[in-house]
C-alpha cells in the first residue's frame, strides 16, 4: 500500500487504468440496463415498476460502499498521513453523495406505485437519508478545510464517526419493523430471492455502476493532483518573480 501512496507512481498507473475502468463501467451498465429495462420479465407483484430496481439497488450499494471507502481513506490519512489518502477521500465523497441521492430519488419513485407513498420515516429510509447528510457534511467541512490549506483532519474524523451509520443501514430491516422489504440478496450465504431472469441484469448493472464509480474517483483524483501541481508551480513562479 505504501508503494502506491506515491503520487507520481499513482498517476502513472491511473493514466492507464482510467479509460479501461470507465469503458468497462459504461459497457456493463449499458448491458445491465438494456436487459433490465427492455429484455427481462416484469415482477409477479409489482409489474413493470420492478425495473427501477436496476438503478436503485446499485446506487444504494455504492452509496454505502462509497462511504466505507471514504472512511478507510480518512483513517489512512489520519493514521499514516499518506498524501494520497486525503485526495482519495475528497474524490470519493461527491460520487458517493450522488449515488446516495440517486438511490433516495429512485426509491421514492418506486415507493409511490408500490407502497402508495413516496416517503415514510422508517428505519431504512431514514438511515439512508442520514447517509446523504453525512456525505454533505463531509463535503462542506473538507471544502472549508481545503480552502484554508488544511490537511482535512476534522473532515476525516467526521467521516470515521459516520461509519456507525453503515451497520444501521444494513440491519435496519432486521432490527426493526420497516416498510422497506428485507434484503433479497445475501452475500454471506451466496443466495438470493430474486429469480435468475431478474438477477442477471441486476448484477450486471451493479458491476457497471461500481466500475463507473471507480472511474469517477480516478478522474477526480488525477484532476486534484494536477491542480495541486499547478498551484505549487505558480507559487514557485510568484516567489521567483518577487
Amino acid at each position: 500500500m505504501h508503494r502506491y501512496a506515491n503520487p507520481a507512481r499513482f498517476l502513472k498507473i491511473a493514466r492507464v487504468a482510467t479509460p479501461i475502468v470507465a469503458l468497462l463501467g459504461l459497457a456493463l451498465t449499458a448491458a445491465g440496463l438494456w436487459i433490465g429495462l427492455f429484455n427481462s420479465p416484469p415482477d409477479y407483484q409489482q409489474g413493470e415498476s420492478v425495473r427501477i430496481m436496476y438503478v436503485h439497488v446499485p446506487a444504494a450499494w455504492l452509496g454505502a460502499g462509497g462511504y466505507l471507502s471514504l472512511a478507510i481513506a480518512s483513517a489512512t490519512a489520519l493514521i499514516w498521513r499518506h498524501p494520497l489518502a486525503t485526495i482519495a477521500a475528497r474524490a470519493i465523497a461527491p460520487a458517493g453523495a450522488a449515488f446516495t441521492a440517486i438511490c433516495l430519488v429512485s426509491g421514492a419513485l418506486w415507493g409511490k406505485p408500490t407502497w402508495g407513498t413516496y416517503w415514510v420515516w422508517d428505519a431504512r429510509l431514514t438511515s439512508m437519508l442520514v447517509l446523504l447528510f453525512l456525505y454533505l457534511g463531509y463535503l462542506a467541512l473538507s471544502a472549508s478545510e481545503a480552502e484554508k490549506g488544511g490537511e482535512g483532519r476534522a473532515a476525516a474524523i467526521l467521516a470515521l464517526v459516520g461509519v456507525i451509520n453503515l451497520p444501521i443501514i444494513k440491519y435496519s430491516v432486521e432490527w426493526w419493523n420497516t416498510l422497506h422489504q428485507g434484503s433479497s440478496i445475501s452475500v454471506v450465504n451466496a443466495s438470493s430471492k430474486i429469480a435468475p431472469e431478474l438477477l442477471t441484469p441486476l448484477l450486471l448493472s451493479v458491476a457497471g455502476f461500481s466500475f463507473l464509480f471507480a472511474a469517477i474517483v480516478l478522474m477526480r483524483m488525477r484532476a486534484m493532483l494536477a491542480q495541486q501541481r499547478i498551484e505549487a508551480r505558480s507559487r514557485r513562479l510568484a516567489e521567483a518573480l518577487a
Binding site: 505504501h2 501512496a5 420479465p41 416484469p42 415482477d43 409477479y44 407483484q45 409489482q46 420492478v50 430496481m53 483513517a75 489520519l78 493514521i79 499514516w80 499518506h82 406505485p113 408500490t114 407502497w115 402508495g116 407513498t117 415514510v120 420515516w121 422508517d122 428505519a123 470515521l160 464517526v161 461509519v163 456507525i164 444501521i168 432490527w175 426493526w176 419493523n177 420497516t178 416498510l179 422489504q181 428485507g182 434484503s183 433479497s184 430471492k193 430474486i194 429469480a195 431472469e197 431478474l198
Partner: protein
C-alpha cells in the same frame, strides 16, 4: 513510508494514532450499541398484531402491520373491511378511501390509524402496501403457486 534514518519516533507516533483511531471507533460502537438497545421498539415503524395483544390497547394513533388474511376482504361501497394477521394474532381493520395497487390478500400491509378499544377494530386513515423481498416473473409465480411452493410470502 519515509526514510529509515529516524524511523523510531515516527513509527511510535503512527502506532499511537492507529490505537487512538481504533479506540475511538470502539468507544463509538459501544455508545451506539447502548443507544440503540435503549431505543429498542421506539424506532419500529409498525406494530404486529401479536405486539398489540401483549400490552394494553394503545389509545394514540399507531401503525399496524402484517398480512392481509386470505379471504378476509369485504367491500361495502368505498369502505373496506379486512383482517391483518401475523400468523399468531389477528386484528380486524376498516378503511375508507383509495387503496394502493399492491393491496391484496396474502400480501403485506401497513395501516395507520387508531384501535377502537370498545370493538377491538382498527380504524385506518392510511393504507400502505408492503412488498416482500422475493422478485420473480409472473409465470414462475404462477407455476410455484400451483405446486404450493409459494407460501403467502411475508
Amino acid at each position: 513510508m519515509r526514510s529509515s534514518a529516524n524511523e523510531g519516533p515516527k513509527v511510535k507516533a503512527k502506532h499511537q494514532r492507529l490505537w487512538l483511531v481504533l479506540g475511538a471507533l470502539g468507544a463509538l460502537g459501544g455508545a451506539g450499541a447502548l443507544a440503540f438497545s435503549t431505543l429498542g421498539d421506539k424506532a419500529t415503524y409498525f406494530y404486529a398484531p401479536a405486539d398489540l395483544a401483549k400490552g394494553p390497547a394503545p389509545t394514540a394513533a399507531i401503525r399496524l402491520g402484517g398480512m392481509v388474511k386470505e379471504g378476509s376482504i369485504e367491500r361495502d361501497g368505498a369502505t373496506i373491511r379486512f383482517v391483518v394477521t401475523d400468523m399468531a394474532e389477528t386484528v380486524p381493520v376498516t378503511y375508507t378511501g383509495i387503496l394502493p395497487d399492491l393491496f391484496r390478500e396474502g400480501q403485506g400491509v401497513i395501516a395507520e390509524g387508531k384501535l377502537d378499544p370498545a370493538t377491538g377494530t382498527f380504524r385506518a386513515d392510511t393504507i400502505l402496501a408492503k412488498h416482500d423481498e422475493s422478485y420473480m416473473p409472473p409465470e414462475v409465480a404462477g407455476a410455484m403457486k400451483k405446486t404450493g411452493r409459494v407460501s403467502a410470502g411475508n
